[in-house]
């Protein structure tokens, strides 16, 4: 059963792990990535990305020592690349928790191969996003007083809880914390596996990191409960975060921002961009780490279907915005949308439309959504398109104020550009470090899926690894299945 011709037939139960590996092979293949000698290509890759990270550090240092005037945002476009990039990175961070929480509750077993890496990606994306609100204050060491309700003699007042910007602080920091907890809880059993394979100092490090985890029935019982609860509370959380980010815009009275469609539209866009980033990274990671049998074409195809669905929702939202601008009869609203499509930022608008609305439609074709080079290129287009979406929303609503005397045109400075470029360095450096030092696939989960599926299928004669020495399934198993 190495390759099943029906593997891509939606009516047939999907083969989520190809080639029937033994449980030990799965443990070994994933653990070895962290145990073997570091491959040379990894040094090259991290050399490049950490150099780019240095550019980020240089730009932020320059900003702190000079002032935020080094960025191009100014009246009338007082919010520009900083918030564009913040929303861009936060959006990317949505895929991880969506995969780990929502797909878990929906019992989508294919998530098992990709959830660890997607969650890690979420954390790194949120770290990149956090740079912008912190540094746009100009004095990041004082940001805590402005953002959090900390008693202090320096400001003397409390944050204003009527402001969506304060809600945003709570939403994003909760999201970062809960995502980190979720990721760590998922890692604990795998860290224990690495501990038990190691000797000496490495064993001690992983022993402490895994908190002395032992996989007893009672431990797993509490553990699974904790995992389920985390999934259940992360599901509304992931939907709330981008909703609250969209409140930053929607609660203002600016034409183009003041719409009720923003929360669902932002959430769909976030999932769209997040999945695109997961596809971009997974296509490279599965090839570089030889994990094609665990992260199969089936997994990539499923993600591409999500990209197609959410991309279509985003396209529909664009159309609705235009319809409402016309239907509302509000001349300011109407002006903003005509200006958006045909004004000075038309180039950005049409880049967004071609990347976000047109390009995902190619995924209707099975040949294209199962072609690895094609999906890689397309996922990058989606990332570009989603960056343009945020830029278009922010700049076009701001640059032509109610009074034509205060019209302007935003141009990024070189510091803007290099800072944004640098965040990709940070993101990729962290991801490369993760791939090298931690198990990129949730071993315990994927083995559990293989074995529990095989116990279920034992009667039908399909199973993982060598033939079982007793195919009979105890009654309690049949009863224990959902």
């Amino acid at each position: 059963m190495a390759t099943n011709p029906a593997a891509l037939d939606p009516r047939v139960k999907p083969i989520l792990v190809q080639g029937n590996p033994t449980l030990h092979k799965v443990t070994d293949d994933i653990s070895k990535i962290t145990e073997d000698q570091t491959p040379f290509k990894w040094y090259i890759a991290i050399g490049i990305t950490s150099t780019i990270t240095l550019i980020l550090l240089a730009m932020l240092t320059y900003l702190v020592f000079t002032g935020i005037g080094v960025w191009g945002n100014n009246v009338p476009v007082a919010w520009a690349w900083d918030i564009t990039n913040f929303v861009f990175w936060i959006g990317i961070g949505h895929a991880g928790t969506l995969i780990s929480a929502i797909l878990f509750l929906f019992r989508q077993k294919w998530r098992t191969s990709i959830n660890r890496a997607a969650e890690a990606m979420t954390l790194f994306a949120v770290a990149c996003a956090a740079i912008y609100p912190l540094f746009h204050t100009g004095r990041p060491w004082r940001a805590a007083y402005w953002l959090l309700p900390l008693p202090n003699a320096y400001l003397g007042v409390w944050p204003n809880f009527r402001s969506p910007l304060v809600w945003d602080v709570f939403a994003v920091s909760t999201y970062a914390t809960v995502s980190a907890l979720f990721w760590y809880v998922g890692l604990i059993p795998d860290l224990a596996t690495l501990r038990d394979r190691a000797r000496g100092l490495r064993q001690k490090i992983f022993g402490i990191a895994s908190l002395g985890f032992r996989g007893t029935a009672r431990v797993w019982n509490n553990y699974e409960k904790a995992y389920l609860i985390l999934a259940a509370i992360s599901t509304p959380l992931v939907l709330s975060v981008h909703s609250i980010v969209s409140f930053d815009f929607a609660t203002s009275v600016l034409p183009g921002w003041h719409t009720t469609i923003f929360p669902p539209y932002f959430v769909a866009g976030a999932i769209f961009s997040g999945f695109a980033m997961v596809v971009t990274l997974m296509v490279v990671a599965r090839w570089a780490l030889n994990l094609e049998y665990l992260i199969t074409i089936r997994h990539l195809e499923n993600m591409n279907k999500v990209i197609l669905a959410t991309g279509t929702i985003v396209g529909y939202a664009y159309a609705t915005e235009f319809f409402i601008a016309w239907y509302s009869g509000n001349p300011y609203e109407r002006f903003i949308f005509i200006n958006r499509a045909f004004g000075p930022y038309a180039w950005a608008y049409w880049s967004m439309i071609s990347c976000n609305v047109i390009s995902p439609q190619f995924f209707w074709f099975k040949k294209l959504r199962t072609s690895v080079p094609f999906m890689f290129v397309l996922s990058i287009f989606v990332n570009i398109g989603m960056w343009f979406e945020r830029f278009v929303i922010i700049s076009t609503s701001l640059h032509r104020d109610f009074l034509p005397s205060s019209w302007g045109y935003f141009r990024p400075t070189i510091v803007d550009i290099l800072t944004f470029f640098g965040t990709f360095g940070l993101f990729l450096t962290l991801f490369l470090a993760f791939c090298r030092f931690l198990p990129v696939i949730a071993m315990a989960e994927i083995k559990g899926m293989m074995a529990n599926e095989s116990m279920h299928d034992a009667v039908h004669g399909t199973s993982y690894g060598p033939a079982p020495h007793d195919p009979a399934v105890p009654e309690v198993l049949e009863g224990g299945r959902h």
Partner: protein
């Protein structure tokens, strides 16, 4: 290997016995053996080690239901109460400022922060509660004395009858383990 029984009795003189370990190759063997030991032979201090959660093992060896849900619920309520108190105290009581003509305190604008803090505290409750119920972090456990313990986080399944079990008898448990199909049986010191 599959049918051959290995019986090791290492020298644990001078140490008390933690229990008898039986090793199994497949999850279904572990469940069947656990069921046999618990339901048929009446052992109660049983623990089952597996590299991943197994469906049915809790019923087989009589693991009680997790009470984690109650802990998380309490933590969530605590987070919610905190949020309400914090917003009311800071904006409505300690330093009232009228901004945009909005009320000093109202539940409507408090909803996002109330929700986020409920989730945040629930998440901490779930993780710390899970660790507490599992007695983690823990640096040492007698099961680590079992030579092949490492396999239980890889691809093997262990059943342990602890010496604290009222029916515990080394010879007897060793024999029973082999009877229910353990591929390796060993007495482990504490």
């Amino acid at each position: 290997m599959a049918t051959e029984h290995i019986t090791n009795t290492p020298d644990i003189a001078g140490r008390s016995v933690y229990g008898v370990v039986g090793e199994f190759e497949r999850p279904e063997d572990l469940v069947r053996a656990g069921e046999d030991l618990h339901h048929r032979r009446g052992y109660t201090k049983i623990d089952a080690y597996s590299p991943f959660p197994i469906h049915g093992i809790d019923d087989a060896i009589g693991t009680p239901k997790s009470i984690l849900g109650y802990i998380v619920f309490a933590c969530g309520l605590f987070g919610l109460a905190n949020a309400i108190f914090m917003i009311w105290y800071t904006n409505g009581y300690d330093y009232p400022l009228v901004i945009g003509g909005k009320p000093l305190f109202a539940w409507e604008f408090s909803v996002p922060v109330m929700f986020e803090l409920t989730v945040l505290l629930s998440a901490f409750g779930a993780v710390l509660g899970m660790l507490f119920l599992n007695g983690l972090p823990k640096y040492y456990h007698p099961i680590f004395n079992y030579d092949r313990y490492g396999r239980s986080t890889d691809d093997r399944f262990l059943l342990v009858v602890e010496s604290a079990d009222p029916r515990f008898d080394v010879e007897e448990v060793m024999r029973v383990m082999q009877e229910v199909g353990a591929v390796n049986t060993e007495v482990v010191g504490s």
